[in-house]
Amino acid sequence: MYGKGILEGLLVTLKHFFGTFIDDIRKGRKRYMTDEGVEYRRSKDVKGIFTVQYPEERLPTPENFRFVPFLVYDEKEDGTNEIRCTSCGICAKVCPPQCIWIEQTTNPKTGRPVPEPVKFFIDIDICMNCGFCADFCPFDSIKMDHYYEMASFDRTKTNILDLTKLSKPASYHAEIHPIHFAREEEIRRVKEQKREERRLAKEQRLNKFKSE
């Protein structure tokens, strides 16, 4: 009563105020503009000031972070690039605001669809960064990016991403998603191994058949 509550409250404010300076003195230069400093300021022990001074300092982007998608291509040993997308259309069907537009082609000779998109657009004005396209793509060919500084002066020219702007190498995917990339590669390796085994088994059977 009689203002005791207020005084106790104000003590808390005072503690916060001095906390900043005490921390500054203790940590010295390391507290600002270093990765270590940023990491400290988002840890459980932080006292006092807390702000990360964007854009001089940046919060690290966690691996799961998702911002507009990109298409993955593999760099072959002969120097050519092979886009992983098969234009199956699952991402376009699952996209909630329907901002993926894919054009599929057919081989003029056979009339069969070619497993590669001729055109691929994402209208990032309405992309809601939900990550469904990356979640549901069966070929690991569309992934969510970490690059988020996309502000531009003219949205009508820059904000529809086409195939060239969307494509990024698999090495980039590996760089920003190390854990997921390793897991995907593992699954792929196991699959390929199985396929190889099956092929060998078939060959063996064939050989056996021949020799008989």
């Binding site: 988002r42 966690p62 909630p96 599929q104 004005d125």
Partner: protein
């Protein structure tokens, strides 16, 4: 026979002509003749103990040529729901209003009139609520189409395999994106009549509650642009001197017809949209929606253990972050400018860091799937959660407690301000902290347990004065209880799969489902009707912020005009959810 079955058969015995079982495929509850609706509802409230009518909405069954109102009754002591359906022909859709019996249907009936076009006879103030009054038609009727209309259902056919891109804004040009009703000519010279009605109604109310002195009543519009309203929200207030004699909330400024969008979407596409309802607590919105669809799909008992734990952990972290935000801004509303709120937001920021690491986004999490969750927690993030829950948060919440709870300034501004009695709270369908601060220990996690909440040891926080101070205290209590749940969940969380199955296209069997969770703001319900295709036939959100506003008038009348701001802050609304 369990208790609900007893009630049901008694209901049938008592009203043999008016009540019949709803035997459509996948539906539950009863179809009530509209003439006897009031009678049946009264009996339910007075004789059967179903005194808590939480959700009222409508569905347009265009094939059968009927509009249907759907009521979800509960007991305020806990238990399962009792569902009533009332049907009315489409060309003359009139249903008696339940306003006299349950005041809480006020906004919900207005919403059903606005969006679906059911006229509730006997409702004292049946104006449009979310849309403007010159709006053409009732958008949730199945034959209504938006000005920019592509197709009935997603996915749209023109995206694949001949995706010739069109920028959406070219198709949706300014000036051509509105359709006016016939005989509506010039929007510039048009004068809204409902505004007059609003003020007339207000002054009418003011007459009844005035001080008796022969003074003039002044109408003040607080909002739509007002710093206290946390968004675009307007309160039309009548004051007599400094004292409020009548108040009516006006909303819909942020309306985007979430439900129509939801009916165009496929089931899975709706998940990220639910994030945008109450954007402070996305993860619990996801939870509610996923639960409702899981009920439809019949997955409810198959969800992997680890996924359930992850859901609970995320939901409780959300609750803490939401309450911190609410407390911080309540202090802002009191005039303690930004110091307390920044202390609170600092902790919320650390929680958001965790969300970002686990789900990929700070606020628009999109984390739940039908039958589990999207991503597992990486070990790093788990460590962070443990640090926060076991070490930092208890410390910091205590500090906040020390900082604010005993402060005489806070006490003198909030104690005895904006009182809501328990009877009123139940009658007005208040939910969540607002209800529990009024002394009604109703928490969906205990009253109708879902997920794995029955395993945890926690108390339902309850306070008894029903004033603003108690609504502040209850949030503090709930943070402590959430920390308790988290501590148990972190200890017990098993290893294992996190997702049952994850097809990109789900077809739900025919029927209806109502899934509800105890969100940070109260009971958040999703009512879904499926017609057996991959898009919901009807998708309705019972939003706690919206319905809690029903009690605002009751809390404010008789208070000083400066206190309105605080009372509104103590209800803790998010306009994204109010206006949907």
């Amino acid at each position: 026979m369990n208790e609900i079955a007893v009630v049901k058969s008694e209901l049938e015995i008592r009203f043999p002509d008016a009540v019949r079982k709803d035997d459509r495929e996948g539906f539950q509850g009863y179809i009530v003749e509209k003439e006897s609706l009031v009678e049946v509802a009264t009996a339910l409230r007075d004789d059967f103990g179903y005194d808590y009518l939480t959700s009222v909405t409508g569905v347009d069954y265009i094939e059968e040529d009927i509009l249907e109102a759907v009521y979800h009754f509960y007991r305020s002591t806990g238990g399962k729901e009792l569902v009533l359906h009332v049907q009315t022909p489409r060309n003359n859709p009139v249903i008696p209003s339940l306003y006299k019996i349950f005041h809480g249907v006020d906004f919900q009936e207005r919403e059903a009139w606005d969006l679906i076009g059911i006229k509730f006879e006997g409702h004292p103030d049946l104006r449009r609520i979310l849309l403007w009054e010159g709006f053409n038609g009732h958008p949730l009727q199945k034959d209504w189409k938006e000005a920019f209309y592509v197709e009935e259902k997603k996915p749209f056919d023109n995206r694949w395999p001949e995706g010739k891109i069109q920028q959406i804004e070219e198709l949706n040009k300014f000036g051509k994106n509105v359709r006016y009703p016939e005989n509506f000519h010039d929007p510039e010279s048009w004068k809204p009549e409902h505004e007059d009605l609003l003020y007339a109604g207000l002054l009418d109310l003011a007459e009844k509650t005035g001080s008796g002195l022969e003074t003039d009543h002044v109408v003040i519009n607080m909002g739509p642009q007002h710093p206290s309203t946390h968004g675009v929200f307007r309160m039309a207030v009548v004051v007599d001197g400094e004292t409020i004699t009548a108040l009516k909330p006006v909303m819909g400024y942020l309306h985007r017809n979430h439900e129509k969008i939801g009916e165009r979407n496929t089931y899975i596409q709706n998940i990220p949209y639910t994030d945008r309802l109450d954007y402070i607590s996305s993860l619990s919105n996801n939870f509610g929606y996923a639960m409702a669809v899981e009920k439809l799909l019949g997955y409810t008992n198959e969800i992997p253990e680890r996924a359930e734990y992850l859901r609970v952990i995320m939901a409780e972290l959300t609750r803490i972050s939401n309450h911190l935000w609410a407390i911080g801004f309540l202090l802002n509303d009191l005039g303690a400018y930004f110091t307390p709120s920044l202390y609170a937001i600092q902790e919320r920021e650390l929680i958001l860091d965790i969300f970002e690491e686990v789900t990929g986004a700070r606020m628009m999490n999109n984390y739940h799937r039908f039958g589990g969750v999207a991503k597992d927690i990486l070990p790093d993030a788990m460590k962070k959660i443990e640090n926060l829950v076991l070490d930092r948060l208890p410390r910091k919440v205590d500090e906040l407690d020390k900082y604010l709870t005993k402060s005489e300034l806070l006490q003198s501004r909030t104690e005895g301000v904006g009182v809501l009695t328990p009877e009123d709270a139940i009658n007005m369908c208040a939910v969540g902290p607002v209800l529990r601060a009024s002394g009604v220990p109703y928490d969906v996690r205990r009253a109708d347990p879902y997920s794995i909440y029955d395993r945890f040891d926690f108390d339902v926080a309850v306070r008894y004065h029903g004033d603003t101070y108690d609504r502040y205290l209850i949030r503090m209590d709930e943070i402590h209880q959430s920390l308790r749940i988290l501590q148990q969940a972190l200890k017990d969380i098993p290893e294992g799969p996190i997702l049952l199955r994850n097809p990109y296209n789900i077809k739900a069997p025919k029927g209806e489902a109502y899934g509800r969770v105890e969100g940070p703001k109260g009971e958040l319900g999703f009512y879904i009707v499926s017609d057996g295709t991959s898009n919901p036939y009807r998708y309705h959100v019972r939003s706690p912020s919206f319905i809690n506003l029903t009690g605002l008038e009751k809390m404010c009348v008789g208070q000083k005009v400066a206190d309105v701001v605080v009372i509104l802050g103590s209800i803790d609304i998010i306009l994204g959810e109010v206006d949907r």
